[in-house]
Homo-oligomer: 402 residues x 2
């Protein structure tokens, strides 16, 4: 098993050395003082990253388990909900709710596009007129399958205005921690993320924040749950424990990674992701690849692009892999049609340039027209401009005292 | 955070160096060829350890998630089941079924005792007479909270005879891989274990085998499930994947640990656990501690004992911890009454002797009467006798061609 050098998929993301070291530490008693301290420290660190004063719990499961927790703890079978989907993961969120018996109204958006706040208002209004007002709105922050970031603040505001009582349940798995996000200021009720994304941690943990409004709903929600019962996690956390044995090694890694992230600082992290995103989009465009996502909503954590004409994804993937670059293919109906370059978590602009250089090489090997060095140069330029415009915006904000 | 030297709890268990190294490896694409190979290899290794030809899937969750999977994939709300409980984890298994709406009849056994096959037959017969024959029997193999190993082969045979159609769902979390276990020969339908027990792997994975009879039941079972859907895991496995992002680092560790276990060989592993169990029981007895479990059913993976008169568990725990020994306290109604010495996974008789030496020291510090060296000597003697009787039994078996 050879280890690829450049893992550029939208999670699992590469682990910094200190995180790897932590993930390989010897076990401790998960009901002892060492773990108790860790759990409290990691929870507080996550709350700072989530920008929330709400309760936050750490579950041992993938992000999908976190989405299921968001649904089953706060809803009852038969309750109407609005599920806003812009891709595979939006569909998955809706599917979880359907499986557990919610009355799901889906707002489907063309893949590659973001959801429109006006459409959300309208859909919620229609549900009220039909006599089945939504108990919850399910929405994706950053859709990993299409490389689109929803205007979550605007979507949440529209939902809150149209259905003031509805819970806003957010899949923030692949964006939170990498791009600006405000759980409390945007009035989000349940926010879910996963350890293997911006957190630079191996997969195995879902982290979920829960608002007082959501806890109220949980008290009477009748969808069955046990392993993913959030209240049991909240109650155990007051004793410094989790109700079931947690993924201790992944928790070690999370604890160290949160420290690394705070050392860098979230504003710097957001700027780094913005620069990497700009570099990826400019570089791929210069390579002659057609980007998939609406440019005004393109994600700064993953860039999606059409597989070039005349080339099959498996063949392209093979050429890339043989050069040590691992990208992700398309999912669902996009399988074979697009590929995705991940740039979240532990990633630098230099690593995006390295990936593009490999892509130039692979494209050439496949007989595609390539102007050597052009994509790397375009990417470097775009990253520089992103950094400049960001620093200009920051100076301006400072100047006006914002 | 100081790392204790002697982690002697019934899971998480200590990690061998090679497993720690694997757990700290760099990430790979969980939908790429490296992970595909690993998943196939680990699954086959686990099937050999489970002694089964049934399908086996690997879930990212704790053992409790595995128990929930065993319930929700094979049952429908309202279906009568018999839940045989001999402790905290038996109660937990029943609670999962209750939460999801099963009609649970509980067979409660006094804690510290094993279940009686005749009582299982009787309970199942009674359910038939009541016109609500059991669709499933839930049973614990090794009860971690009390340190008792159930006579699972006999219990399963009794259940099969009394209710031939009932599924036998087994919590084998803390025994499988450490003591003899035969999934197929004992005709068990669903068998659940957890990575942090005998497997010498960090927590984060539950491994579940599923018989054809259980798959048949799954096809019509209506308890809701998504994250823990076993059929989705089975179907993804045919493509070398898991449906959701797995705990890749824990999978790396499992892959290496299974190799270590097969290098040692399961008969040798069982003998080592038997020797450690004998050492723990003899040593603790010689220390003047009263053992909790029925001696004829005492577990070879965890030994439970009463907290000595005149001493409180927190004070004892503190003395032990200050000497680098971490034991587990009691759970549920046994909190403060018993303590537990874990000896499963990566454990040797020498490590049990070291733990006993520390206990002698701590007991003395607490003013308990201690004959220095006595518990260590008694443990060493018992381990030697266990090894001898085992080797005699093996020779005999070889002599008669068994």
């Amino acid at each position: 098993m050879t280890q690829p050098t450049h893992l550029r998929i939208p999670g699992p993301t590469p682990l910094p050395d200190a995180v790897r070291e932590a993930g390989g530490r010897q076990m401790v008693n998960h009901r002892g003082p060492e773990f108790k301290e860790l759990l409290a420290r990691a929870t507080e660190g996550l709350k700072r990253a989530f920008r929330t004063e709400n309760d936050l719990v750490i579950l041992t499961c993938s992000g999908t388990g976190g989405l299921e927790a968001a649904v089953v703890n706060h809803l009852s079978p038969g309750e109407p909900i609005l599920s806003v989907s812009i891709g595979v993961f939006g569909d998955r969120f809706a599917k979880v709710a359907t499986r557990y018996g919610a009355d799901v109204t889906k707002l489907d958006v063309e893949w590659g596009q973001a959801a429109d706040p006006a459409a959300v208002s309208e859909a919620l209004g229609r549900m009220v007129q039909e006599g089945r007002p939504a108990k919850a709105v399910l929405v994706t922050h950053n859709e990993t399958s299409t490389g689109v970031t929803n205007p979550l603040q605007e979507l949440a505001a529209a939902a809150r205005a149209a259905a003031p009582e509805a819970l806003i349940l957010v899949d923030a798995i692949s964006g939170l921690g990498a791009v600006p996000f405000e759980s409390d200021a945007w009035d989000l009720d349940v926010v879910v993320t996963g350890s293997q994304k911006s957190w630079m941690v191996p997969p195995g943990l879902a982290m979920v924040s829960v608002s007082p409004r959501a806890w109220d709903a949980a008290a009477s929600a009748t969808m069955p749950r046990f392993y993913l019962d959030l209240a049991m996690h909240r109650d155990s956390a007051t004793k410094g424990e989790t109700p079931w044995t947690p993924a201790v090694g992944v928790c070690f890694a999370l604890d160290v990674a949160l420290d690394l992230l705070e050392q860098e600082g979230y504003p710097a992290i957001f700027a780094r992701h913005a620069a990497c995103g700009a570099a990826a989009r400019a570089g791929l465009s210069a390579l002659g690849v057609r980007l998939f996502a609406d440019p005004s909503r393109a994600s700064d954590t993953v860039t999606s692009a059409h597989v070039p004409e005349g080339v099959e994804w498996p063949a392209l993937n093979k050429e890339l892999r043989s050069r040590g670059l691992v990208l992700a293919g398309g999912q669902g109906t996009l399988t074979g049609k697009i590929f995705r370059l991940g740039h979240l978590g532990s990633v630098t602009v230099d690593e995006i340039l390295a990936a593009l250089a490999i892509m130039e090489d692979a494209f050439e090997a496949l007989g595609l027209p390539v102007q050597r060095g052009a994509s790397v140069a375009a990417a470097a330029k775009a990253a520089g401009e992103a950094a400049e415009s960001r620093s200009a915006a920051t100076s301006e904000a400072v100047a006006v005292g914002a």
